[in-house]
Symmetry: C2
Subunit: 337 residues, 2 copies
Amino acid sequence: MIKGKITIHDISKALEIDSSTVSRALNNSPRVSKKTKTKILKKAKELGYQRNSLASKLRTNRSNTIGVIVPRISRHFFAAVISGIEETAYDAGYDVIICQSLDNYEREKKLVETLLANRVDGILISISMETTNYSHFKNYIDNGFPIIYFDRPCEVDKNTNVIINDFKASFEATEHLILNGCKNIVHFSGPQSTTLYQKRCKGYKAALKKHNIPLRKEYIIESNLMENDGIENAKKVLKLPLVDAVFSANDKAAISAMQYLKTKNIKIPEDIAFVGFSNEPISAVIEPSLTTVNQQDFEMGKVATTLLFEQINNKSSINETKILEPELIIRNSSIKK
Amino acid sequence: MIKGKITIHDISKALEIDSSTVSRALNNSPRVSKKTKTKILKKAKELGYQRNSLASKLRTNRSNTIGVIVPRISRHFFAAVISGIEETAYDAGYDVIICQSLDNYEREKKLVETLLANRVDGILISISMETTNYSHFKNYIDNGFPIIYFDRPCEVDKNTNVIINDFKASFEATEHLILNGCKNIVHFSGPQSTTLYQKRCKGYKAALKKHNIPLRKEYIIESNLMENDGIENAKKVLKLPLVDAVFSANDKAAISAMQYLKTKNIKIPEDIAFVGFSNEPISAVIEPSLTTVNQQDFEMGKVATTLLFEQINNKSSINETKILEPELIIRNSSIKK
DNA sequence: ATTTAAAATACAATCGATTGTATTTTAAAT
DNA sequence: ATTTAAAATACAATCGATTGTATTTTAAAT
């Protein structure tokens, strides 16, 4: 902390103008004459005045700040959502505090508490994979605290969620493989405690059903979809007969599986075709380039933030779920020649 | 903002205990009896009390919060540095506010102001590429405000910088190419306004000199090292005679150049070997995998944060520059068989 | 039962800005 | 020159927590 920070009272004393007038001048209130404003602004600059936002927020009971909690900022999808959030927020004159939960429940809980203690006006959150207990949100929701869930929805009680149509995306991804001649399609699924992965799995099943392909339980491999899970999954795939395609619920597992299979001289897509999910930057670079689902990241950030501001300003929690339409990006990993 | 938030005064009234005692109890002061503490804590929980950090910070003149400004949170290097920062900070009981400047000077300036207005106890920053004017820092440095520069140092006046040995890393990267039989090595250089890229360029030159390879000016291609710059650089390389290797000052440009050259049937590393810089995750995945420099990201975050806390607590700005040793990660793109 | 020191609690000011109300100043109208 | 309304400024309380000092309570010692 800098010692001897300049306050409005220092300006007040220096000019022999009451601090209330100084405050109003700095906030460009019409109640202060132009002449006085000029004088005050000049002196403020001269003294190196810097507003103390803490005091201002305390007094006004408004922080003009929103908090964002994502599992991991380095994930391209979340970084892109954050870009959308920041753009919308800055346009509205709001600051954004970015936090990462690292998919850890305890940490997420602490972050929520810290944000609330700092009196953010609202929170945008993509809940951690570990989170199954929503009590750390519930207290605030009941009070009408503005909070919006994105990507990973919170489906207890009435909340506002912004998600993509995971079912449809998965359905289309799987159907795309079927239309390219694949019949024995393995699904790399994520933790079924997460509704998002449930939906992706359902989309996969529905596509099989539509095309009269019998569902084989051993073709659904559940894991946390981390890099290492992809390798383990790939080993399992090699032990299954006939597999000619994989639809992975995220890119990371798809990519590590592809890399492992390549070392085993499996040809992609000729032997096994691949479709991922999320459109991570690596998916465009790997060989063959990975067919994947674009999740409308930037758009999701904008939509979620707009909804949050509606809640903050109207105080009417609307409790809607916005569903964005995903887009299948077809690259080389899924087209059998 | 939630209406009717519970304050210590509500607890005070409910229990007929003075608010000062309530405050001390909540902060676990030894001046409050155990019996009273239990009573207060119970009531606080019952009423759903949540500390107002704004008021607390205002009064104590300590925010227990540090600010971090990086060009872009999605860049793997910065995300890893942030992990190191957060780990160190949380252990010390500090909160971390993460901001991204998007390499934009105006935005960076605004972020610094916002952090200061919110009275962070110190700032960790990797300055934006656009920044050549340091006046937005200078005011605070002069006041002894704790600020540490990492990766991209601020080399005006006396500051504390945490950087890697860019010269040595580049020297070794270039020498590695030479030792693998390359003689006509192009350098993709970054903006020379940034000392970091100056140093990388000097390392390249020094390695050539040591091995008696004449320096050719047209072999140094300066750009912003973005994806598109890599492609443009690759086109220039194709027009130069004899080139058998490229040392790029970052991975991004190296990777897009490699991709472009592959479409032109240039074999990597046989025709042109490549070495990058930063160890982006993509570098391990691209084919051939890219030899690159590991920048000690996580370690850098830890060291920078530790230095910051020294400044915050001792008030003695030490003004040192810590130089971390980089590590060359040798992969397939640089080994001519 | 009284004195005394320590423990526990209450009082009151404070951090820096904001804002409703009161007062003073200015300028227009007579 | 005086009245009057509007404009400009000053006064004073407030946001919620903290903290040095004063007071009260408790418990030990006589």
